[in-house]
């Protein structure tokens, strides 16, 4: 009996529990911290899936940088818990109904159909799969152009954020 199913259940359960907390907790700071919980357990799942570099990125970029930004804004805005917490009236019912439809649709896509033999077996991974060296090699060869475009996107985002957050418009 390998350790993997136990770790999967642990990380998956934590992720789902924290995600429910993010959606239904009243205090935005708690929501942000629960979201960090989701991100950390997802990075554990990435390690289980032999993606150590992505797991490290997840912790550094998401749990580190993006969540600090969220907490900054939460404290900057000093938003008290909303009242009411959820959208009122029929919109809430429709929202949950719509989400259920999305979920069923997703499950229908993901779950294997009975008698479907076209599903691939798991690939045998080479040594060093998902390591920074291996990812860097294809990132700077096959995906070089999208990578460079990303830098422009980030530059635009920086300029946009500075302009938007300026105290006076023009």
């Amino acid at each position: 009996m390998s350790l993997e199913p136990i770790l999967f259940a642990m990380f998956g359960g934590t992720a789902i529990g924290c995600a429910v907390g993010v959606v239904f907790h009243r205090n935005p700071v708690h929501c942000a911290l629960l979201l960090v919980g989701v991100l950390l357990s997802l990075s554990g799942l990435f390690v289980l899936l032999h993606a150590p570099f992505v797991a490290a990125l997840q912790i550094i970029v998401y749990a580190g940088a993006i969540m600090v930004l969220f907490l900054f804004v939460v404290m900057l805005l000093n938003v008290k818990g909303e009242s009411p917490l959820l959208t009122p009236g029929a919109a809430k019912g429709f929202g949950i109904l719509f989400a259920l439809i999305v979920f069923i649709e997703l499950l229908g896509t993901v779950l294997p159909r009975s008698g479907d033999s076209s599903r691939l077996p798991d690939a045998v991974l080479p040594e060093g799969f998902g390591s920074p060296a291996a990812i860097g090699r294809i990132l700077y060869t096959v995906w070089l152009f999208p990578f460079e475009i990303t830098s422009i996107l980030l530059l635009v985002a920086v300029v946009g954020a500075v302009v938007l957050a300026k105290r006076k418009f023009a």
């Binding site: 917490l85 096959v142 990303t150």
Partner: protein
């Protein structure tokens, strides 16, 4: 060499679907713009999990690269989105999306 996964990869896909659905519920049901942003992050992460699981199944690293790009786009989106939120809060003193409906007329 690493063989087949001990956990069926379908489980990872189902987990990703559950997380995505929770994110959808958050966007549709909550009224605070900050929480809506967090729910969007939740959905992006669910998709990332799905990418990595498919990458594991196919034995190619292109899924990892896509996760990398999703993270970069998410960082840009959060920076601009939160700046918009701060600007709205400065002008209207609210982060409730129901109070911001100037375009609705």
């Amino acid at each position: 060499m690493i063989g087949a996964s001990a956990v069926p990869l379908v489980w990872y896909q189902v987990l990703a679907a559950v997380l995505f659905t929770i994110g959808v519920v958050g966007v549709l049901v909550r009224r605070s713009a900050i929480i809506i942003f967090m729910s969007i992050e939740l959905m992006l992460n669910a998709v990332n999990l799905s990418f990595v699981a498919f990458s594991r199944q196919h034995g190619t690293m292109d899924g990892h690269i896509f996760v990398f790009f999703v993270m970069a786009v998410a960082a840009a989106e959060v920076a601009v989105g939160l700046a918009i939120l701060v600007a709205i809060f400065r002008n209207r003193a609210t982060a409730n999306v129901d109070d911001v409906r100037l375009l609705k007329g």
